[in-house]
Symmetry: D2
Subunit: 357 residues, 4 copies
């Protein structure tokens, strides 16, 4: 059950970095949704390696196959199984570090848990696992689009450089997914410099959901923000999350942090959106806004200190092929997770009242 | 299912602020654990209202009753039902605001969701709901204590005042749960000032788990940090969470954020603990460290702008009895949630290998 | 999780025979349903002990209290906690058999599982646990009634006496819940004879759901019949279940067992209803019909052979207060379980299609 | 979630009869289990079509591929994804009946549920879906074998012919899986006669689990028998289930149905095994014995009455390639389901006590 997520729109992810394939089964997608492989491929291409000089050069075309659940271009209400074959899984580079624990990686913790470990590129702990998330997220997006919900993610901060404005149209025009055309080239330069230095960078990703109807979220544990937090922190490199004003709210007074309700053309709204679109764990109708702390890629081509499985001090150099920053490819994964949570709650909202409207 | 949390050590919470009682059913507690009402009462007393001048004056003794699952002082492996009667639920003060939406509260979002709403003190969205969490958390703590796991929470920051050192013994010596004896009185003064001004304060709570064995956490979705994130963000006032170095890691380079493994007297450890005790979603054996952004109490005794259920602009003054800061009473709730997550994963770890050791 | 049932309309049962109380938390009941304690009491009274000379003389008034989830006579979408205090729990009679295993009972298997055991009246394995099921089932029935679904159970066979016709109005006119007025007095006589002989009787209960819309049930595992089977077999005394023609179908040929579809006044129906209202795990719109094999009450006031916890052969005489047949009080429990399954699937059907109609 | 089964050893099934493939993801298999494709293939071959003259002539080699979760011949604790390509999915024969409802099939109920339907060989409702169950069941069996648990299924009754004795060695020596060498040829003759008459036969399958330790099963809803009932009834053709003496127990008196406990060489046992190895929903250590009512194959090559999607009366002749009796191929599926339930509960038993032994 640990590889399943979502209560009614629910996915089960499987696959390892250097196994034959990775994939996902999506159970609970309603019948009658138009769906094709092309719908999914578009999102997969955004998380693909080798898309630019700021991502890993591993060569994976990541062509998705839909194996079930779709007939004549429509979902059938049955599980949708999607698969991507691994193509460029060269595991030879991992051979000489198979007894060493890579700093920042899950090598030791997996071994401590399972007693065995797949050392080839991290196995299950690899970011390659997120292929299935993105594939399923694409289906969630199609469902959400029917209700006018749109999800947009971008790099809000990288190497200390902060996007000063958010232009949705700009995001896909640059290779770092920065929404600010002036800051984007600076970010690119910073990444290339880190790459040259065999180092890596972290950053802050911001994910917004626009057009979310009020009423989504299920107190007291499956609150919308609680589920989003779980979804986002389950992504490998994410070390923190905040909603709306987030940590800044900890330094406010109630008279500042409270956001008065106002009538916005017949709809209930708030003056600002300090709450990030969620109050009491339920969407308010304002944009949902979350910010994610993304750590630098742990794999760097530098010699580092560590120990081996016998507990002896040693040096390690992680060869393989790595992203100088993971944030560029994390953004589409985070968008997918947001979509999955919202699709789940959009459906669950159908259960909230005796009379469904 | 939205009021249930935990997969194998699992709780179901119920109750509203001004209903007859609040409670919890804990299912999945192993048989043979010594347990008495006194064990639970100690934790409930820490979250109780009226414990000092920095908490709400509502008068609730919060005496817990164990109604099932315990016989002759031992758990029986059957569900443990615990109940606390509401005593001081004066709902008259909410009568004249029952058609207005309190800023920062869930009044509107609950109504948007369910079409109906219990206006008396927030109903289900009240912090009173956390009584059940703390009661169940106390049982989790007893289970964890058998394995040498201890959970400690405290106020790391309040009103911009930051605890400069962490002395576990100090925490319960002052009424703001500050681990720094020099900063504590300043924090108290700040809260009393806010109270006098009919305002409220937020802060940052830090929760540590000490003695956690390596191997807890279940990739890829039930990662230990993902489950902790959900648990913590499900607490009403929490607007953000970070693990270890958290958001600061977003500004590091990989050569800085990576934490080399070292041999600590025969055990695998890391030089520092930037990861906050979790790598790849699995505990490493280092302390688990999380920080929570806690917003100021939304209920303040000042006139605020808002609208009513007809969409008309109006003024609101929230009378009731409120905490000038919620962080003092949130700390034991956050400790309980940490305990619940760890107990669940401690048990789940028994399932990880063919041979249980 | 083992004491929870239902995926979206979900109950958590708690309590032991001789503890302070028994109860249930119902999570997932939609908001806006009219509900009062009287609605629930009516069903509880049908399963109550002491209702006639064919049931146990234990004296329990079984007054239900609703502790949460209902405000102003309406469900609020929040968990509904219901409790019944145990009153007449005289456990002294169990003192001298506390080290012996009662034949037909769960004494040994509970001990084998948990290492500890509540010997007082079976503890958690007692039929008293079903109080919570019936209380929650009453809520399910109210929800189902809105959609025109009605559930009727009765004693189809007892002591080899078979009801020859099914008159719904007759069922509650006799104390054995027999739908045939001519057979009912024969059944009563048989039970009284068994009681006099310090023996007990089994029988076959039949449960029908009328007015169930087509489309309920979720292949491939949460099929409607699969969920009903689990629900019914989870009732203590049930040793078998069959749907429609059931075991008789094993002796037919396909040309006999197939039931042609016909147009019944604009609705799709079948000529007979051999399938018991379910095909492929989904309701067809025909009545759902199940039959349950109910074993004789295991507690009989006769000396029986057994062993004790040391493995020594011994004699046992089960005193306590017992039902000469359990079927009379099992029928309302089985009705409740049917209601719970149908309510769950009625709601889940809202999730089956992109467009909800 | 409707295509997932099992709480900790849990499978998610996917695939349709005439889609590209069918498969399963098994999540929760402990790390360190030896596993190869050959282990799984052996069980798949038992449920395969075309294995003899009493099964469907559809030509499927059913070669399984393990796509994840196994490395160096050992399970890794990560999800095990298994896939079988559909090869001989000729759907042309279904073209002219795509608007008609096949009697005994799920055509109408699927359409009523989802609003759309895959008419090709039943789509998801086809028995082809059980490939994934058998593949996952093979893994469960390997896990159970480590603990000495063995599962054996057979045809206890067919065409009114009843196996008079149970010789485990005989079962795989004849093509109808009959455990009685004298009755087996009679059963074969009966099937061939039905086949010649374009008709089909039902029967009774018996499944036994030998060597099950006492203590498995989780009251009050996840009782071992309740979970087995759900598992078995979720198999397409199963219309009833009974445990131990089952329906016969409904006609006994308590003094007959109670089974005295005895000391069997230091172990607790019962004189007979009327309870079928389960008391109070927990295994007793005696063999688990269930009997399943299996209906005749619904697809028969005869003209039958039915209606079409417009509600008009019509005739239908189901061509395709069908099994004259489904029981032969159902037995391995039922064995797999028994294995899945037992593996799940074997693991869950590790959670039952504070100290795991």
């Amino acid at each position: 059950m640990a590889s399943s997520f979502g209560k009614v729109f629910s996915i089960t992810s499987w696959g390892e970095s250097h196994g034959p394939a990775v994939g996902v089964v999506l159970d609970g997608c309603p019948a009658g949704l138009e769906l094709s492989e092309a719908d999914i491929q578009a999102d997969l291409d955004k998380r693909r390696v080798g898309q630019s000089e700021v991502t890993s050069p591993r060569n994976e075309s990541d062509r998705v196959q839909i194996l079930s659940g779709v007939f004549n271009g429509l979902t059938m209400g049955t599980p949708i199984s999607m698969l991507v074959w691994n193509q460029d899984q060269d595991s030879s580079k991992y051979e000489d570090i198979k007894d060493k624990f890579r700093p920042g990686h899950a090598d030791y913790s997996y071994l401590a848990k399972y007693g065995v470990r797949d050392h080839r590129g991290g196995g299950r702990s690899s970011a390659r696992e997120t292929v299935g998330r993105v594939a399923a997220g694409a289906v969630a997006r199609k469902l959400l689009a029917r209700e006018g919900v749109k999800i947009v993610g971008y790099t809000a901060e990288l190497a200390g450089l902060i996007a000063q404005r958010v232009d949705f149209d700009e995001i896909n025009r640059n290779i770092v997914r920065c929404p600010d055309p002036e800051v984007a080239p600076l970010m690119v330069a910073a990444v290339l410099k880190a790459k040259e230095e065999n180092d890596s960078l972290g950053g802050i990703a911001e994910i917004r959901a626009v057009g979310v109807p009020p009423g989504l979220g299920e107190p007291v544990f499956d609150k919308l923000d609680a589920d989003i937090a779980k979804a986002m922190i389950s992504i490998g490199a994410t070390k923190g999350i905040e909603f709306g004003s987030g940590f800044a709210m900890a330094r406010m007074q109630g008279s500042q942090s409270n956001d008065p309700f106002v009538n916005k053309g017949g709809k209930v709204g708030t003056v600002e959106n300090k709450a990030g679109g969620i109050l009491g764990g339920i969407s308010t109708g304002e944009d949902i806004v979350v910010r994610l702390a993304v750590k630098p890629t742990s794999s760097i081509a530098r010699e580092q200190n560590t120990i081996n499985t016998s507990g002896e001090a040693t040096k390690i150099e992680v060869k393989g092929r790595h992203d100088p920053t993971i944030i560029v490819r994390l953004v589409p994964v985070a968008e997918a997770m947001m979509a999955l949570v919202l699709a789940d709650h959009l459906l669950r909202q159908r259960l909230a009242r005796v009379t469904f409207e």
